[in-house]
Symmetry: C3
Subunit: 212 residues, 3 copies
């Protein structure tokens, strides 16, 4: 049980690092000053989980735990230093964002399972945890929101989450194995989708919203 | 009493359908993939009520109730199918959005009354419930926020809400009748406002915000 | 003790007036109708504090207290009347926004101290209280978010907050004096930063986010 808890903590820290990096790089790309970069990194990392915890009415995860805040602080500083030798913003941002998405989706679903909620609500919480940090980052930075673009983003999150929940409930595989494999599956779906230009059929309406 | 509860549930479901449709159509108009459409439909439907419940510190209404989630899911799928024969996005979106606004405003005020809050706070909660789902949808989709446009939106919500509260407190009319008539009043105010180009006088400052 | 409480209430009311004015002027600048102006004034004033209270899991401060709502209501009406003789939106908005930032940052940190939280979390809560009302206002009004611009905004908030916390913990100065002086410090940092074009070195990446 303790091993399992340590493992879940490790996943939470990895997800926090991934999203803090993703937020830092996006903010530096938009030329914010260091404190602005720190705020964006913070919102990207804790945004989804904060909304999830508020909805679940449990204590917000980063409030009484200095580990998460310290991790974000250190990651942001490392990103700033690392930045000076790093030019490939797009690829870096994409990779960290994908890992953060996978890691946080699974954490969100686990919290829903622990609260004995309906599977559909669990997947909803996973999607909120995975997607809302990145969505908040994009809204704050005036970027085109990720869910908008051609990349398979929410889709990877929902498919991966559904498979995770199915395996946890109906398979005899070890919990840790199911965690790691579904996280990698979410990252893989997004990566291959972008690499091979996979696309889900979209709706072709006339975009006249701005005139409405 | 039970009749009253069933009636309130019916109103909640109708409002959820209306906003899920409004969210789905807006998302399809912006050419999102089916999962993106689902997320936008979800946020539009539950966004306002979620913020209201968090502020009231009561359990979030869709957490332990599969009815709302199922309604959103089914409505979104029906909207996607219906879409292929539906071209008049603007009118459809407008009608559903107006009904959602009216229905949710009244639900929000009722929750405030049940919690014994001051009338001004009740109207605030009604406005949050009615407007914030649509506002979230517009922010996520990068649309010009509804409250921005010429349409009388928040105004309809505040006027209708105030009349509802006055009738509930000081009239002897049946509760159900007051509910239905104020909902229709909100829809009517918005519809006539758009149809006959009603406008509330606005402030004509120089819009130099972007240079600031 | 009572004097201290009255003093804190006075600060809260002043901050509310400052942000309600800032929200009203920004909304009038964008030519919203009076009800839209009221909503923006409300969100600007209570946005940051609401998120803080939800995270702290304490009752939202404006729910059971008609003082705050009345102050916002009256301030908005006064701003609308005052508007007709007021042309210098930029300067007015800037001054009120700066005072609101200083006042609310200190209130947020105080609430964190009262809840016995880690200093780093206290500064985070102060930053949320100070910045998120203005950020919400800018997102709702489609303005370029303040934290984005050249002005030293979040920076003033974080520096002032850190000094406040240090003086409260390690100095023997009176609490009221520390409050007033750090609030004025935050306003001073922002004002001088804008006046003398102070700038924190930023990151010069290529801004290609829109193509991503």
């Amino acid at each position: 049980m303790e091993v399992q808890q340590n493992f879940s903590l490790a996943i939470e820290i990895l997800g926090t690092i991934a999203f803090a990096m993703s937020g830092s790089f996006a903010a530096m790309q938009k030329r914010l000053d260091p404190f602005g970069v720190l705020i964006i990194a913070f919102v990207t990392s804790v945004g989804g989980g904060t909304i999830r915890d508020l909805i679940l009415d449990v204590p917000v995860f980063w409030m009484h735990d200095m580990v998460i805040c310290s991790v974000i602080f250190i990651t942001t500083i490392v990103s700033m230093i690392f930045k000076s030798v790093e030019k490939k913003f797009k690829v870096t941002l994409f990779i960290f964002d994908s890992f953060g998405l996978g890691l946080f989706t699974i954490i969100g679903i686990q919290k829903g399972i622990n609260a004995d909620l309906h599977p559909l609500i669990c997947i909803t919480l996973g999607t909120i945890t995975g997607c809302f940090g990145g969505i908040s980052r994009d809204i704050l930075l005036n970027r085109i929101p990720l869910i908008f673009r051609k990349e398979i983003y929410a889709t990877a999150c929902i498919i991966g989450g559904t498979i995770f929940l199915g395996l946890v409930k109906y398979s005899t595989l070890s919990y840790a194995f199911v965690q790691v494999s579904t996280i990698l599956l979410i990252v893989a779906i997004r990566t291959f989708a972008v690499k091979y230009h996979w696309e889900i059929p979209k709706f072709y309406g006339v975009d006249n919203s701005s005139e409405m």
